[in-house]
């Protein structure tokens, strides 16, 4: 077990270093950042001074090492646009995205898994066919599309829900559904197929032969095993939620990191872009690590 944990930890660290490389390369791919920050009439000396001030005059390698050092202490420098430390800008907006993400995650997991499990239990019957249909449709509608449709129906036509912002709890409803949508469909499909696989095993047959009541067979025996691949899938879902929030926040004008990132990119705000991508990616890696550790605990074949 400790070997498993140690190897995962090592992998996580190397991945984070790799991420830092990409992030650094990313931000420096575009043209001169100073071009947007300085009026066109500025002289070359002014430009040079600005570059020096922003640390852009050092060599690429030096810049990278500086960046790396800063990244591990979460110091990304000051946002060009806001003038504040990039980290501060990030944390200001992080709460909104986290709240939305959590609501969507709970929604997708609980409903998705339940639908999938019952679909497998009632295989072949109406509920199962309906589940398969929902899952299929869910994966065919992009999140921004479902967002627009919901806005059209619930906000414009019926005026039940607000179109943007996060002032009230009602404003959570549509964006979280839009964000959870695809994930719910994927989880439902996976739960169903995983549960199906488990329900046809010998040990489930034996559980029934022992005369155990059906709900014990389904939950204590079958689901406990079916959950394993589902837990593994969570890692993918986490990545999807982070990516998806960029789009959903844009559609619903949700004041979170997603919206911030687009603005930052368009403004060539290097430090902020770096901060956002690095922290988000690292966050994903760490969350995946947690998921892996969790998996190690719930599968006795690994923990013993």
């Amino acid at each position: 077990m400790t070997r498993y944990l140690a190897s995962r930890l090592l992998q996580a660290i190397t991945t984070i270093v790799g991420i830092s490389l990409i992030v650094f390369a990313l931000a420096h791919m575009s043209g001169d950042a100073t071009a947007l920050l300085i009026p066109p009439e500025a002289t070359d000396t002014d430009r040079l001074a600005l570059r020096q001030q922003l640390g852009l005059d050092k060599t690429i390698a030096d810049q990278y090492l500086l960046f790396l050092k800063g990244a591990f202490t979460l110091d990304f420098g000051n946002s060009f646009r806001f003038g504040k430390p990039a980290l501060e800008v990030y944390t200001d907006r992080f709460g909104a995205t986290l709240a939305l993400g959590l609501v969507a995650a709970v929604l997708a997991s609980v409903i998705g898994i339940l639908i999938g499990v019952y679909g497998a239990v009632k295989a072949g019957k109406l509920f199962d066919q309906a589940t398969k249909l929902i899952a299929l449709m869910g994966q065919a509608i992009p999140s921004f599309l479902i967002g627009i449709v919901m806005i059209a129906v619930f906000a414009v036509m019926f005026r039940w829900l607000p179109t943007s912002g996060n002032r009230s709890w009602e404003s959570f409803i549509m964006p979280s559904i839009a964000l959870a949508w695809f994930s719910l469909a994927s989880l439902a499909r996976l739960s169903r197929s995983s549960m199906n696989d488990v329900l046809s095993t010998d040990y489930i047959k034996l559980a029934r032969l022992k005369g155990l009541p059906e709900n014990k067979v389904i939950w204590k025996h079958a689901f406990r095993n079916a959950a394993l691949p589902i837990v593994t899938m969570f890692s993918l879902q986490i990545v999807y939620f982070v990516s998806g929030s960029v789009i959903v926040e844009n559609v619903f004008s949700w004041p979170g990191i997603g919206q911030l990132s687009i603005q930052a990119i368009q403004a060539r705000d290097y430090p902020l872009v770096q901060a956002i991508v690095f922290i988000s990616s690292t966050g994903i890696v760490l969350l995946n690590l947690v998921v892996d550790i969790l998996y190690g605990f719930i599968d006795p074949r690994i923990s013993r």
């Binding site: 065919a140 992009p142 960029v246 994903i284």
Partner: protein
């Protein structure tokens, strides 16, 4: 006893190698998700012959004819699906969008699939340092939220079709590599590889002649599913204004412009939305069907 070697090597071609009879053939064809294939054939045809069958220039602005209704709501056959806020023919723009989605989709899947396959074969077969490096790199790419990076890259180097395609290939090859690598690892341990080695086959021969054909099935399944996902991502990026740049008509861009007119002229959102939905659904259905037919676990 069936040796695993016989069953896998023999299935070089897609589908079980049963005896061919007309009856078996017809049964097999009838199991195809027909309407899925129909939709996709239409899509490909539209993609290939788009400019020819398009009734108007998708980018021709005619402000006087703006917001014409589609044919079922009192419009005319001249603009069967109506016109948008700039007077451009919706049908033509849909067709143009179809070509873009198709082009981007296939290009990305082809590119990412090829890179992923090559790396998966190398990593899975040779193991050791190559595997370690490839796996680590894969993990990095999979962990980074692809939308953010795609936006960042496009924001940095400018929006164009080629940039978009390369960006998406860059962000999606890792998915293929990871899945196919597991396949290669599994296949490597099967009897027929050991037999080939004992018989003195060179590494490249084993890779190309023995492993590659057996990778084709999972690759096909993955590629089909990824095609749908790529189309969705392209639409999402275009929706945000970060995909294929205007004035090129894409479904995502049409949705982005049309969303301001919901309620007033809802079909501007309805048609491109429906197009995306129908196409992705068809692709996913096909992918599912392929998985049922090709995944050895499900084969009877």
């Amino acid at each position: 006893m069936n040796s695993p070697a016989k069953t896998t090597v023999a299935s070089k071609s897609i589908g079980a190698s049963n005896k061919f009879t007309p009856r078996a053939f017809i049964t097999r064809v009838c199991e195809l998700p027909l309407w899925s294939v129909l939709v996709l054939v239409c899509l490909v045809l539209v993609g290939l012959f788009g400019p020819v069958i398009s009734p108007h220039d998708p980018n021709a602005i005619q402000l006087l004819k703006a917001h014409a209704s589609p044919i079922f709501f009192g419009g005319s056959w001249e603009y069967p699906l109506g016109t948008d806020q700039m007077g451009r023919d919706v049908l033509s723009r849909l067709i143009s969008g179809a070509r873009i989605s198709l082009l981007v989709g296939f290009a990305v899947v082809l590119g990412a699939g090829s890179i992923g396959t090559v790396l998966a074969l190398a990593a899975g077969y040779f193991g050791g340092a190559i595997d370690a490096v490839v796996s680590r790199v894969c993990e990095v790419f999979i962990a980074v939220p692809f939308v953010l990076v795609a936006i960042a890259i496009v924001g940095a180097v400018g929006a164009s079709i080629t940039n978009l395609v390369f960006t998406l290939i860059f962000m999606s090859w890792a998915g293929y590599a990871r899945v196919l690598r597991s396949e290669v690892l599994r296949l490597r341990e099967l009897e027929f590889v050991k037999l080939a080695k004992v018989a003195g086959c060179s590494d490249s021969r084993i890779l190309i002649h023995h492993l590659l054909p057996n990778i084709v099935n999972p690759l096909m399944i993955l590629a089909t599913l990824q095609l749908g996902a790529t189309i969705v991502i392209e639409a999402s990026l275009s929706f945000l204004g970060l995909g294929v740049p205007p004035p090129q008509a894409t479904w995502g861009a049409m949705l982005s412009e049309g969303k301001d007119f919901i309620g007033f002229h809802t079909s501007l959102v309805l048609f491109p939305g429906l197009a995306i939905f129908v196409v992705v659904l068809a692709i996913n259905l096909l992918g599912d069907w392929l998985r049922l037919r090709l995944d050895p676990r499900f084969r009877q």
